[in-house]
Symmetry: C2
Subunit: 335 residues, 2 copies
DNA sequence: CTGAAAGCGCTTACAG
DNA sequence: CTGAAAGCGCTTACAG
C-alpha cells in the first residue's frame, strides 16, 4: 500500500493528527506557518483523505442522492437535464452524487437509503412522487428537497420553476405575434405543473381581455405522441398558435404541422416549455421557442437547501424560480 | 440516536460481534440455530449495517462510479439509456452508483475519485474517452470497464455491441424490402463505432454482390441536425433506403422526408441504430426500425466484469454482444 | 494554538 | 463453530 494517511502527513510535519486534520479541513486555530508547512507536505505527498473514514468519524457522507424515475431519464430530456444539473450542482458544492432510479429500488431498500450512512440527503424529482417508497422518504428523518412541487403538501422544502406567469408570458408572446386563435396542449392535468401552465394560459387571455375557447384546450401526456394527435385536432379547429405544455409535445406538434404542410410559424406559431428541445438539431430547420427552465439555478438552490437542512437548519418551504422565454423560429413572425 | 448497530444485535442475541457479523454477511461457519436467532433479532431490530464503517473496515465500498459525458446524457437518449441500464445493473449486483459527469470533474479530482475509497471501480462510457483525465483513469490502479471500445487499446476490459454484422443485417434488411439505392448517414468517422457500422454497410453490399455507390455515403455527427441535411442530399441523389448510424440521425432523416413530402417507407425506407428512439411518440406516426442495443446485457456484463476485477481477477479483454434488429414501420413495406 | 485520547461501526485474522 | 482483540483512517470534545 502506498496509501497516504493523515498520520503520515502528521508525522512528516511533526504535528499531531488533530492539527493535521484542522489544516486539511481548513479549520481555524492553526498557526499560519504551521498550517502552511502541513499543507505543503500534504500536497507533496498527494494526500487524499479517505472518505469512508471521514464519513464514519464525522457522521457526514458528503454525498447526496438523486431520486428520479428511470422512465424520466430515458424518455424525456427533462429528466436528463435535471440529472445533469444536479450533478453539476453537487460538484460545485463538493458533494458526490448517487443515483437512485425510482423503479430500481426494492421496497425494503428505502431503509437502506435512509440509514446506511452513505448519503446525507436526497434531492427528489417531483416526477417520482406517487411511488409509496418515495412518499415515505418525505417523512423520514433523512433530509430531502423536492425539485418540483408536491400536489398537496406545502411544508416540504422544494424548488420549482414559476409556471403560471411564465406560461402566461408565452401565451402573450403568441398574441404579440398576431395570433388570434391560440390553442394549448396541456400535460396530464393530474399534475400540478401541467395545471399551473394551463392556468397561465388562461391568465394571459384574461389579461388581454380575450376569452378562452375551451375547444382549443386539449390534454396531452407530456409525450410527443399525444401532441401529434392533439395538434391535428387543433389545426382542424383553425388555431394559428399553440402553447405546448412542454418541449416534447411542442416537437410533436411541429411534426404534425410539417406532415400536414402547415407552415411554422406562418400558419401556426408554436411555443414549448422546458428548454430541453431547443437547438436546430431537434426538429428539422426550425428552432423551438420555449420557456427555458433555469436548470442550473434550480439544482443549485436545491442542493443548497439540502445542505442547510443537513446542517440542522429548518427546512424552508417552496421556492420558485422564474424561467426565461427564449424566442426561436417556431413563433417569431417577421413583421 | 435510535441507530441500531451490530453491537446491539450481538448483545441481544447473546453472541459476539464476530458471529453477528458472519450472520449478517451470510458467511459460513455459524451454527444454524444461532444463525437463525441472530438473523431474527437483526430483522426485528431493523438493523442496517453502516456502510461507511463496513467500507472502512473491509476496504470495499460496494459502490461503483459511472463516467459519462454530460452532453451525452442531455442530448442523446443513448447516454440516458446507458445510465439507466448501469443503474439497474448496479442495483442487481447490490451496488450503489455514483455519477461522474465527464465535464464536471476538475483536474485534480481524478485522484479524488481514485483514492477516496468511495468507489470500488468505474464503468466508463467510451464516449467519454479523449478527455485527458479519463484516459488517465484507464491506466490507474482503479478497476475500470469500458462500455464501448477504445480506438487503439485492446488490452482494456470492455463491453460493446457487435457493430459490423448487425449493421450489415440492417442494410440487408433494406435490400430485402426491395430497396435498390441504399444510402447511409454515418456517425463521425473518427469514432470506432461509426466506422464499424459503415463497414457493416459495405459488407452487406459485398455479400449481396452489389457495389457501394460512394456518393450515397454521407458523414454525419450522430446528431439529428446533421442527418436532416444529409438526408436531403441523399434524397436528391435518388435513394430509396437509408441506413442511419444511430436513431437520432434516423429521426433527422425522417424529418427531412416528411418535410419534403417523401413517404416512409414507400419512397424511402429507413433503419436506425441504438433502439433509443423507437416507439411511436418519437417521430410522428411511423415507428422506427432499428438495431436495438442490448443495454441491459451490456450494463450487466460491464458490472460483472468490473466486480471480477475488483475481486482481483485478471481483466478480460473486449467482449462483444450482438444486438437485435427490430423492424418497425419505417422500413417495412407491405408486400 | 496544539495534542492525547476516545470513538465512529464494522471486518478479519488469530486462537480456541 | 465462536469470541477477544486489533485495526480501518478519520473527527472531535477535552485539556492544556
Amino acid at each position: 500500500m502506498d496509501t497516504i494517511t493523515l498520520d503520515d502527513v502528521a508525522k512528516l510535519s511533526g504535528v499531531s493528527r488533530s492539527t493535521a486534520s484542522r489544516v486539511i479541513n481548513d479549520q481555524p486555530g492553526v498557526r499560519p506557518d504551521v498550517r502552511e508547512r502541513v499543507q505543503r507536505i500534504a500536497d507533496h505527498l498527494g494526500f487524499r483523505p479517505n472518505r469512508a473514514a471521514k464519513n464514519l468519524a464525522s457522521g457526514r457522507a458528503s454525498v447526496i442522492g438523486l431520486v428520479i424515475p428511470s422512465e424520466e431519464l430515458r424518455v424525456d430530456p427533462y429528466g436528463a437535464s435535471i440529472t445533469h444539473a444536479v450533478g453539476r450542482a453537487a460538484t460545485r458544492h463538493d458533494l458526490g452524487l448517487m443515483l437512485h432510479l425510482a423503479e430500481e429500488v426494492p421496497g425494503r431498500t428505502v431503509h437502506h437509503i435512509l440509514r446506511d450512512g452513505l448519503i446525507d440527503g436526497l434531492v427528489i424529482s417531483s416526477v417520482a412522487l406517487g411511488r409509496p417508497w418515495v412518499d415515505e422518504l418525505l417523512d423520514s428523518s433523512l433530509p430531502t428537497v423536492l425539485i418540483g412541487r408536491h400536489p398537496r403538501r406545502t411544508d416540504l422544502a422544494s424548488v420549482d420553476v414559476e409556471n403560471v406567469d411564465s406560461s402566461a408570458s408565452a401565451t402573450a408572446h403568441l398574441f404579440d405575434q398576431g395570433c388570434e386563435r391560440v390553442g394549448t396542449i396541456t400535460g396530464p392535468l393530474g399534475r400540478v405543473d401541467a395545471r399551473q401552465r394551463l392556468d397561465g394560459f388562461r391568465l394571459a387571455h384574461e389579461r388581454a381581455g380575450r376569452v378562452v375557447d375551451e375547444t382549443l384546450v386539449v390534454e396531452g401526456d407530456f409525450r410527443r405522441g399525444s401532441a401529434v394527435e392533439a395538434a391535428r385536432l387543433l389545426i382542424g379547429r383553425g388555431v394559428d398558435g399553440i402553447v405546448a405544455g412542454n418541449d416534447e409535445m411542442a416537437i410533436g406538434a411541429m411534426w404534425a404541422c410539417t406532415a400536414l404542410g402547415v407552415s411554422i410559424p406562418g400558419d401556426v406559431a408554436i411555443v414549448g416549455f422546458d428548454g430541453t428541445g431547443s437547438g436546430l438539431d431537434t426538429h428539422g430547420d426550425v428552432t423551438l421557442s420555449s420557456v427555458v427552465q433555469p436548470f442550473d439555478r434550480l439544482a443549485d438552490t436545491a442542493v443548497s437547501m439540502l445542505n442547510a437542512i443537513v446542517e440542522g437548519h429548518q427546512a424552508t418551504g417552496p421556492v420558485s424560480i422564474p424561467p426565461d422565454l427564449v424566442v426561436g423560429g417556431s413563433s417569431l413572425r417577421r413583421t
